[in-house]
């Protein structure tokens, strides 16, 4: 418990430091320069991130209106078995395929299917505020989803137990042309949580139905089309048992005109955010990382 409090306090200190740095660097915002020639019209900062999905989380980005996007997300098994299963490449893997579309400005809607727990999700993201050189220091988007667990009926007493929900407020800032930072508190909710019978014969929940967590991502561009990415997800809710482990992830990203490729290592196996936040038992202290990749393909209509 002490360690957990210590972890959280270190984490929050880092966040405050990042926000402080970003505020101090306000005067260096590259977007200020880009508006020199069109002084009358202040435009939002472009490309805080290069894609709508990065590592294990959504980014603040909502693509331009009329964009159709296909995402393929893949996670191999944990690397800690070594050569036995070729660092997880031959282990059972998880995959998500999703389609999304931007029908009106600032709104993305979509749906996806995930192998783990046979989950089907529908999701939306709305850009509430976009960072500008003078008016708004950060961009803010809301992301939410509803997920249906499609496994056999024997897993559930009632069909309503199949549903889970995820709500996230994504706050990001492009600090310099190369460096972007994102902080995203989230609330997950599962209608059904596994129970157990204690020594008194009482039925208890192993975990709470609700779960609050916070996620951070940092993008550092190496060139116009490549970047290094880092992410950290920390649970804030304490559960009676099965407390989830944090996620530490890092990877490399390559962007082209119509594609975004990411390859990375992290602790999350679940892909669906609420599953990751509640059920992750991969521990970075025990080197339980999984290799993963994300591929996005964009079309503009």
């Amino acid at each position: 418990m002490k360690n957990k409090i210590k972890n959280i306090s270190v984490y929050l200190s880092c966040l405050i430091l990042l926000v402080f740095i970003s505020t101090r660097l306000n005067a260096q915002d590259p977007a200020e320069l880009s508006t020199e020639s069109t002084e009358t019209k202040i435009k939002p900062v472009k490309n805080t991130f290069e894609s709508a999905v990065l590592l294990d989380n959504q980014t603040v980005i909502v693509p331009i209106k009329g964009t159709f996007e296909m995402d393929i997300q893949h996670r191999f098994g944990t690397i800690n078995n070594g050569a036995k299963d070729l660092f997880g490449l031959f282990a059972p893997s998880n995959i998500r395929i999703a389609l999304s579309y931007v029908p009106i400005k600032n709104l993305l809607v979509g749906a996806g299917i995930t192998k783990d727990r046979m989950q089907t999700d529908i999701h939306l993201k709305y850009a509430l505020i976009k960072q500008t050189p003078t008016k708004f220091p950060v961009s803010i988007s809301y992301f939410g989803n509803m997920v249906i667990d499609g496994r056999d009926g024997s897993y559930f007493r009632y069909n309503v137990h199949r549903f889970s929900y995820f709500n996230q407020l994504i706050i990001a800032r492009k600090i310099t042309e190369k460096l972007s930072v994102q902080v995203a508190p989230s609330l997950s909710w599962f209608n059904n949580i596994e129970g157990y019978v204690n020594s008194n014969g009482d039925i208890k929940n192993k975990m709470k139905n609700e779960h609050i967590a916070i996620s951070t991502m940092i993008r550092y561009k190496l060139s116009e089309s490549t970047a290094l990415n880092f992410g950290y997800d920390q649970a804030l809710t304490a559960h009676p048992t099965n407390n989830p482990h944090p996620n530490l992830c890092f990877g490399f990203e390559k962007t082209t005109s119509a594609h975004n490729f990411q390859i990375f290592a992290g602790n999350y196996y679940g892909i669906v955010p609420q599953s990751n936040n509640l059920f992750n038992q991969n521990d970075y202290m025990k080197s339980q990382y999984v290799l993963g990749f994300n591929i996005s393909r964009l079309w503009n209509y």
Binding site: L33, S34, S37, K43, K65, G66, S223, N300
Partner: protein, 136 residues
């Protein structure tokens, strides 16, 4: 020995023919641009900022076909049915900003239209400003 000589001659013919086919490809039809489009004025002044922004866009959207220096030698250029052209030459550089803007916006054959991918006209004008730096 005779077999080797025969094979050498056949290989030489095939190799020569392949170069011939490459250089004798169908010349491209002229890309007609209306006078109104040609005479459209570039509202973005050419300075270090707009050129840098144009370069970023170029590297993301154009480089794979046109090459980093606009010589038409990008990694995908060999797969194209139409020649991507050499932007360092006068045939491109003598065109007006408006004509280049029109071609970027509308596209033709292998060249995609960027009106929807880059809906902000300012982005496309910045690309034009960067293309001017490719002149030799």
């Amino acid at each position: 020995m005779k077999k080797t000589v025969f094979l050498f001659i056949v290989a030489s013919i095939i190799l020569t023919a392949s170069f011939t086919m490459k250089t004798e490809g169908d010349p491209q039809k002229p890309w007609v641009v209306s006078d109104a489009a040609k005479n459209k004025k570039n509202p973005i002044s050419s300075n270090a900022t707009s050129i840098a922004a144009g370069k970023t866009l170029w590297n993301t959207h154009c480089k794979s076909c046109h090459g980093s220096k606009g010589l038409g030698d990008g990694s995908k250029s060999a797969q194209l049915k139409t020649e991507p052209g050499d932007f360092s030459k006068a045939i491109v550089q003598d065109q007006t900003d408006g004509a280049l803007f029109f071609k970027i916006s509308e596209g033709r054959k292998d060249m995609p239209s960027f009106k929807k991918k880059l809906p902000d006209e300012e982005d496309r004008w910045q690309l034009v400003n960067f293309m001017r730096t490719l002149k030799k």
